[in-house]
């Protein structure tokens, strides 16, 4: 294959018709929140620009990001981007294995030094010099650092790569560490979620390939177009929240009527993701639509906050002490009330037992 072949050529070679290609371009433009004229610009970019290779690495993870990706509700989008990516390197999806596969990595580094995109699924464990994740006889963190040195930008797929996720949950024995805390000298785009939505993944990667720049990111380093709002802001059950109509138990009248799930722990009000707009599996459903609250899987340390079924989650004050603000605060307030009552009683006792308090003498004079 030629070093300068375009995305379009690659797609055509993979049996994608021009019609399907154009459909993909308009769909992606819509997904990215761009105007209709951008469909043409995306098509033009994919037709003329040399293909940017994508290397897809896997650290400590469960492969749910890949699972989500290949189950894109719109198979076209997934297939298109997937065929562009899997050409280079993805341990889970590529045909090559063993030394052959590792050679591909080196080939990409040699050929496209500083030009390829590094997509990371999962994160590296740093404890014991990275021995908790060994690939091709070496700690994964070394492979990650080596590839990151030669890449253009990094996409951190999923909550593992973005925040740490379950393997980084306390006490985090392997010291699993999110990508942005390991690779400090390259831009890292966080695409959190456990897993992220397939359309979000294809949207982000297509934006980068087509426009040759990073998507606009928010303060946390997440693409604004997909993580700009909370689930709560676009939730179809929001009117029930505002009205004060809540599911109290999962088998009550409110649950049957589709009331708000906030009281049974829905984290929609604090979770930034596109679930309530794009939904899952091609718009089939999403957690709240299926009657279960959001777990907040796209948010930092969502594993470490205690019950998924209470709106008041745990605060980890120190070490292993876990309690909700209501428990801690309620105890403090109750202690204060008891303390005040005891102090008042002691004050009265002091007053009564005072032999000749100078104060009362002065008062009688005055």
């Amino acid at each position: 294959m030629s070093a300068h072949e375009t995305f379009y050529e690659v797609m055509r070679r993979h049996g994608i018709t021009r019609r399907s290609f154009l459909k993909f371009c308009s769909l992606t433009a819509a997904g990215l929140g761009l105007g209709p004229e951008f469909a043409g610009r995306i098509a033009h970019a994919l037709e003329t620009k040399p293909r940017t290779p994508v290397i897809w690495l896997h650290g400590l993870e469960c492969t749910c990001c890949t699972e989500s990706f290949i189950r894109s509700g719109n198979p076209l989008a997934g297939d298109v981007v997937l065929s562009m990516i899997s050409l280079d390197y993805d341990d889970t999806l590529m045909a090559a294995a063993g030394h052959q596969a590792e050679e591909l990595l080196q080939q990409t580094v040699d050929k496209y030094d500083g030009e390829f995109i590094l997509a990371c699924e999962g994160n590296p464990p740093l404890n014991e010099d990275g021995m908790y994740c060994i690939q091709a006889g070496k700690p994964y963190v070394e492979k990650l650092r080596y590839m990151a040195d030669h890449c253009k930008a990094i996409i951190a797929w999923g909550s593992c790569a973005s925040w740490g996720c379950v393997q980084a949950a306390r006490p985090n024995p392997t010291q699993a560490t999110p990508i942005h805390k390991v690779i400090l000298d390259k831009p890292v785009i966080k695409v959190p979620g456990c897993p992220p939505i397939a359309e979000v993944m294809t949207g982000v990667i297509t934006y980068m390939l087509a426009f040759d720049r990073l998507p606009p990111l928010d303060r946390q380093g997440r693409p604004k177009m997909f993580y700009g709002q909370r689930l709560h802001d676009k939730c179809y059950r929001r009117p029930h929240f505002d009205a004060g109509q809540f599911v109290e138990k999962f088998d009550d009248e409110g649950a049957r009527k589709g009331y708000c799930l906030y009281k049974v722990g829905c984290k929609g009000p604090t979770t930034y993701n596109a679930c309530s707009t794009i939904e899952w599996n091609g718009g089939l459903s999403w957690p709240v639509k299926s009657g279960h609250g959001c777990l907040g899987c796209a948010e930092e340390n969502f594993w470490d906050k205690g019950s998924f079924y209470s709106p008041v989650s745990n605060l980890n004050v120190t070490g292993n002490v876990e309690a909700t603000a209501n428990q801690i605060g309620g105890t403090i307030a109750a202690a204060a009330a008891i303390g005040v009552a005891a102090h008042a009683a002691a004050t009265v006792v002091q007053k009564v037992t005072a032999k000749k308090p100078p104060v009362s003498e002065e008062v009688s004079n005055g």
Partner: protein
């Protein structure tokens, strides 16, 4: 500058709390009370309403009242800072705690002993006693600013990226990426405010009959009155 020597006889009354300070105090008290009640029910919602969603606006009203009171609280706090500049000596006590003043910690120690019933000797105070001043500063400056910053940061989640609340207070989420955690710390702050109210109200009422000066009435009339004509020093 209203400083009195320890030995000088101080019969009072002394005008301490000027009208704007008193108005601020009661507005502040009202806003905190409203914020605590509505805030508690935002975190721990009331029993579910039945019927059509369009017939009710319970959570919406709670939030509206919470946010409105928050503006009273926050703007009041800014006005209070301004009052410290233009007001009298006592208007600055809340904001500037003279921790480097030689006698300050000695007096704090005395107040601790007094409240712990170790000594019966009671010191006259024109403004706050030093222990109260320290406590006031921690709650009404440190905790109040904490509640204001976390509160507006959470508010910015509704007003959206690029809004004024996001521009001014979005940095909170740089310090703590999880807004759920910020929410829980904000809730924790509510409980500390409740603790403050319990202690503050008790201490003021206690001062009315177990100190050498008035308590509650000072924040109503503005005048500090004393129960004896003696000097400030503990006796």
């Amino acid at each position: 500058m209203a400083t009195f020597s320890e030995e000088q006889n101080l019969p009072g009354p002394i005008y301490v709390y000027q009208i704007p300070v008193r108005i601020w105090h009661w507005l502040h008290a009202l806003s905190i009370t409203t914020l605590i009640i509505t805030g508690y029910f935002i975190a721990n919602p009331l029993p579910s309403m039945s019927g059509e969603a369009s017939d009710h606006f319970v959570m919406g009203t709670l939030r509206l009242v919470h946010f409105s009171s928050a503006f009273v609280f926050a703007i009041g706090l800014l006005v209070r800072f301004y009052l410290a500049f233009i007001g009298n000596h006592y208007a600055r006590e809340l904001i500037i705690v003279p921790v480097f003043h030689g006698g300050f910690w000695r007096r704090v120690w005395h107040e601790i002993k007094f409240y712990a019933f170790v000594t019966r000797k009671c010191r006259k105070n024109v403004g706050h006693n030093t222990l109260a001043q320290l406590f006031m500063w921690m709650i009404n400056i440190v905790l109040a600013l904490f509640m204001m910053c976390t509160g507006f940061a959470l508010y910015s989640q509704g007003t959206g990226a690029g809004s004024w609340a996001d521009s001014l207070f979005g940095w909170v989420f740089v310090l703590e990426a999880s807004s759920q955690t910020v929410r829980m710390w904000h809730l924790m702050g509510m409980w500390l405010m409740l603790l403050f109210i319990i202690v503050h109200v008790y201490m003021v009422i206690r001062a009315d009959f177990a100190s050498r000066q008035n308590g509650t009435s000072a924040m109503i009339t503005g005048w500090r009155t004393f129960k004896d004509d003696g000097p400030i020093e503990p006796r």
